[in-house]
């Protein structure tokens, strides 16, 4: 237990050190990409739980991210003034769950409060995860990958084809997300530092929850399901329910990430739902070592930051595809667990993989 939280403390130290470094270097604009990286990382540690610990692949998690982002964006921008007569709208207004917003041209809009929008977005993602996960998680291996891929494509096409969601343009003008103590999640440069800490604070909270889970009775049961599913059932573990719950949990992480990144960026577009995003998330979990939350988090920090800063240029998506292929071929246990030198020696000495020999 001591080790569990000392790693958390060390990581929090790293987060602070990075902020201080950007300050000393006079380059605080780096914090913008680092904040976005934090929200993607939240999705990735949730996905790591699903892939690495429950042993279930998902190639559709960008879909859950997009559900979170789009629902929150839609509700906080869509003008309800025309629907004032509806009982639900009147009720929400009375409960203080609607806000008056003025747009660029001075017109007044009646929109849903971000808190309620966030709750609705995450709830919808959770419900969809339950409905989709129920039948889909009966599949294994390639079939599960294909089915979740299909789900991701559906969400992408829906986002791209729905006029109400801005079609190819997506939704913009999404307001900031107000928090207690005068804090706000927003991309405004004046709140850059506080947003950096809010985002990474959320990631650290997510990590603590998942690290606790791994060390718990449920974590043990998930390792058992991953290790030998029939044997897990034979000692009373409801394997289907545990897989489904983990799927829903990771979808909830993804949707929360989608909600906050959308409010931070002030908008969301269909590319956030694309299959290439889902592949990227899986690639990062893989390079982090699959059943290794810290590995996934550190790899997410480095790779998302590099990608968002544009270091991969036009090859952005290709880089993650190549990473996935290389990891599967040469380091299925992830980059951080392998002795790179030994791998290179093995390659040089003929290339027969030791997995085959074993």
């Amino acid at each position: 237990m001591a080790r569990r939280y000392s790693m958390v403390a060390a990581f929090a130290g790293l987060v602070v050190a990075i902020q201080v470094a950007t300050y000393l270097a006079g380059a605080p604009y780096h914090l913008t990409q680092l904040t976005m990286t934090a929200y993607y990382s939240l999705l990735i540690v949730g996905l790591c739980m699903l892939i690495g610990y429950a042993g279930q692949i998902s190639l559709g998690h960008a879909g859950f991210f997009a559900i979170g982002g789009y629902v929150s964006a839609f509700l906080t921008t869509h003008d309800l003034a025309a629907h004032k007569g509806l009982r639900l709208v009147a009720l929400l207004q009375k409960a203080g769950m609607l806000l008056e917003r003025s747009d660029l041209y001075g017109g007044s809009h009646l929109v849903v409060h971000p808190w309620l929008a966030c709750a609705a977005a995450v709830l919808l993602a959770v419900v969809i995860a339950y409905v989709v996960g129920g039948p889909v998680l009966k599949l294994r291996g390639h079939y599960l990958a294909m089915a979740t891929l299909g789900f991701g494509i559906i969400i992408y096409r829906v986002a791209l084809g729905t006029e109400l969601l801005g079609a190819a343009d997506g939704i913009s003008e999404v307001p900031g997300f107000p928090l207690p103590f005068g804090l706000i999640i927003s991309g405004n440069a004046s709140v850059r530092v506080s947003n950096y800490y809010l985002a990474w604070g959320l990631v650290i909270l997510g990590m603590v929850l998942l690290l606790n889970l791994i060390q718990s009775r449920v974590g043990r049961a998930l390792s058992a399901v991953h290790g030998a599913e029939d044997a897990a059932g034979a000692i009373g573990i409801p394997t289907a329910r545990y897989k489904l719950n983990t799927f829903v949990l990771s979808a909830a992480f993804a949707s929360v990430a989608g909600v906050f990144l959308t409010h931070y960026n002030g908008g969301i577009g269909p590319s956030e739902a694309s299959v290439m995003k889902s592949v990227r998330y899986v690639a990062i979990v893989a390079i982090g070592g699959m059943a290794n939350l810290w590995g996934a988090l550190l790899m997410s920090l480095v790779l998302n930051y590099l990608s968002l800063r544009g270091y991969f240029g036009t090859f952005d998506d290709a880089v993650f595809g190549v990473i996935l292929i290389l990891i599967m071929l040469f380091a299925p246990d992830g980059l951080l667990r392998r002795h790179i030198l030994a791998d290179l020696k093995r390659l040089a000495s003929g290339g027969a993989s030791d997995e085959e020999a074993a």
Partner: protein, 253 residues
């Protein structure tokens, strides 16, 4: 007093009638063995009883309640726990962790309690660990507590698998070929262990090929051939049964 009752159970795989109209009872507190030549349907029968396969027809009662419609995990949580012919440990977990997983149905921390690390889960974890320790000492494997299960010798893995099943505190333990792959000394040890389990008040139903083991420990034996029961009796009577001898040794014997 009957703990398990199999009533006219049948199972067909395509053209193969694996289990055919089979009935037998297991008395509480006894050791009962299922024997028969390869392909007689013993493992299929085990899979039917433990909920891994649904029967085509017939009923199975455990402790008086029907279980033939239940999934395996629910049958296990009612107190009927099985092991596997090919050992199915959780390979990357330690011996202690493997046995601790066996406490699953006797503990209750769920996803939320686990994530929030609620205080009641600490006490529960401590009890799970203590019980795991107790079982390892009972089985004489405490020295391997923190060894990865997959790196143990084969015979020890079998013992760990039984330990994991015992952690469930079953009323009925199903052992699928517990002596498979064991040497003679280990087989004798396994016989002693099964007797000890019975003395703990746990009923045992086992499938086994090793005749010295079966004849030595069983109270009753059911003999299967081509999915049908051809004999059910005490070990000495089974040894003299002409039909059993014919099935095992061929017509000329």
């Amino acid at each position: 007093m009957t703990i398990l009752s199999v009533r006219r159970v049948s199972k067909r795989f395509g053209g193969l009638q694996a289990v055919s109209d089979l009935s037998f009872d297991v008395a509480r507190g006894s050791i009962k063995a299922l024997i028969g030549p390869n392909g007689a349907g013993k493992t299929t029968l085990f899979n039917l009883i433990s909920g891994f396969l649904p029967p085509d027809s017939g009923e199975i009662y455990f402790g008086g309640a029907p279980v033939h419609d239940l999934p395996s995990h629910q049958i296990a949580s009612r107190g009927m726990v099985r092991t596997f012919q090919h050992i199915r440990l959780f390979p990357k977990m330690t011996v202690l962790e493997n046995i601790m997983v066996g406490r699953h149905v006797h503990s209750r921390a769920g996803f939320l309690a686990g994530m929030l690390n609620l205080p009641f889960t600490w006490r529960e974890e401590r009890r799970i660990r203590e019980k795991g320790q107790e079982i390892m000492e009972l089985l004489g494997i405490a020295e391997h507590a923190h060894t990865e299960a997959a790196s143990l010798a084969y015979g020890q893995q079998r013992v760990v698998e039984i330990g994991r099943a015992l952690a469930c505190e079953p009323r009925l333990l199903l052992l699928d070929e517990p002596a498979a792959g064991l040497n003679m000394r280990e087989t004798i040890g396994m016989g002693g262990l099964i007797g000890k389990i019975r003395d703990m008040g746990i009923t045992v139903l086992l499938v086994e090929h090793d005749m010295s083991l079966v004849m030595g420990i069983s109270d009753e034996i059911v003999v299967l051939s081509f999915g049908q029961k051809i004999a059910e009796d005490r070990p000495l009577a089974i040894q003299k049964n002409r039909e059993v001898i014919r099935v095992y040794l061929g017509d000329d014997a």
